[in-house]
Symmetry: C2
Subunit: 252 residues, 2 copies
């Protein structure tokens, strides 16, 4: 078995609205699914408040630990939007106006009352070489070093991810196969551990549910190797059959 490089990412979600419970986060799963298609594994997420030093510490922890860091939230025009300042501080650089972002904003706001000082805040970026911002959807998305900065509104994040598709270096995507069964996970815990152990390169997650008054579990097998995945899934279905249970491919 060759050892392939695994590309990793972290997410920093900046937002009092998530920590207060007001907003239900939708970006974690959206970014996670997208990263997986790029062959990048999401390894950690942190949600921190709109407090500069907390953002700085979070950005520094995650940008050094993973190949890529995605931040969401705090890049609008208002006083509570301090993500850019925090990232600049984390990188030890000044904040400057990005000429292309400024031009984008200028044309966007030309017929919307003009580019005010508050709106120009959205063109502020950490100083240093940076590719042009991708698309404009309210606030430009920017990249600095391995840090991707985007808005917190889920459909804006979706547009920014779309624009980045295929541009980041990654490895083989993590594949998965789900086997569902009307069985309590506690009934087959030992068998499950044994099947995982027997199939190198596969991890099996066990996700119980209660539905239609019955207990069931979906078993999610993950691997970067399609053949290993198929073998492991077959083995699990056989083991379930052996104890008189039906394993449903694609889950229940």
């Amino acid at each position: 078995m060759t050892h392939e490089r695994i590309w990793t990412a972290g997410i920093a979600i900046i937002g009092d609205e998530i920590l207060s419970g007001r907003t239900q986060d939708k970006n974690i799963s959206q970014i996670a699914l997208w990263l997986n298609l790029q062959g990048i594994r999401l390894r950690e997420v942190r949600v921190v408040p709109d407090v500069e030093q907390e953002i700085v510490d979070c950005v520094n922890a995650l940008r050094t630990r993973y190949d890529y860091l995605f931040t969401t939230g705090g890049i609008g025009p208002t006083h509570d939007d301090i993500t850019v300042d925090a990232i600049a501080k984390a990188l030890g650089v000044d904040v400057v106006i990005h000429p292309e972002a400024s031009a984008l904003l200028n044309s966007y706001y030309e017929k919307r009352g003009g580019l005010t000082e508050a709106r120009l805040r959205m063109a502020r970026v950490p100083a240093g070489p940076a590719p042009p911002p991708t698309r404009l959807a309210g606030a430009p998305a920017t990249r600095h070093a391995n840090i991707f900065t985007r808005g917190g509104v889920p459909h804006i994040t979706a547009g920014m991810l779309d624009a980045l598709t295929g541009t980041l270096e990654g490895g083989r995507p993590l594949l998965s196969r789900t086997i569902g069964c009307w069985v309590a996970e506690s009934e087959i815990a030992e068998m499950l551990g044994a099947v995982e152990k027997a199939h190198e390169g596969c991890q099996i997650g066990s996700y119980p549910f209660f539905r239609e008054g019955k207990v069931g579990t979906n078993f999610v097998i993950r691997s970067t190797d399609e053949a290993q995945l198929a073998t492991c899934a077959s083995a699990l279905v056989s083991e379930l059959t052996a104890i008189g249970r039906e394993g449903v491919v694609n889950g229940i």
Copy 2:
């Protein structure tokens, strides 16, 4: 103005299923809203994979930093459930079988095929003084030092929170008031910052949206003081009126 103690909490979400994007997290907002009613502020959330050392580091970072730490996930009977071991390692203690949890499980599984070795795993807890586990819903919820450990399935978490209601020491709950307006946040960013600055003890968050083809923003004012909150909300509505906009109480 008297300085009151602010009680804080962190959440550690243990689960490859969140990081893979397979499962959309619902526990953050659920726990956040509940904490707020207990007078406790959620200050940080971390999502980490089912890897022991990552959980240990996360638990140690959050338990020392905040008054309370809530962990969700990884307390079932299967091989991927390693939260208890990681918490014990973080606390530097052994893992033991909790007699009351074991008795609860025994009676629960009496008519469900008996208490197998895998099921008994759910009675494992870090050694040390601990109150009896709260309720049984598949896996018992337990408390050790300032760490509350519970399942990841949202309705199980809900039951466990319900059982804990009113039992944790907290401060004054953070109150909030929302003012909605059909205005782009960039149009009123400076005014908004000025209103916040003029009202000590109040924070204003700005949450733009796009709806019915129009741009609008909800402004959420937060404070522990009802009178300060009301004054700040009135001031914001007046300022919006002054520029010919209507501020809608309770948001749009």
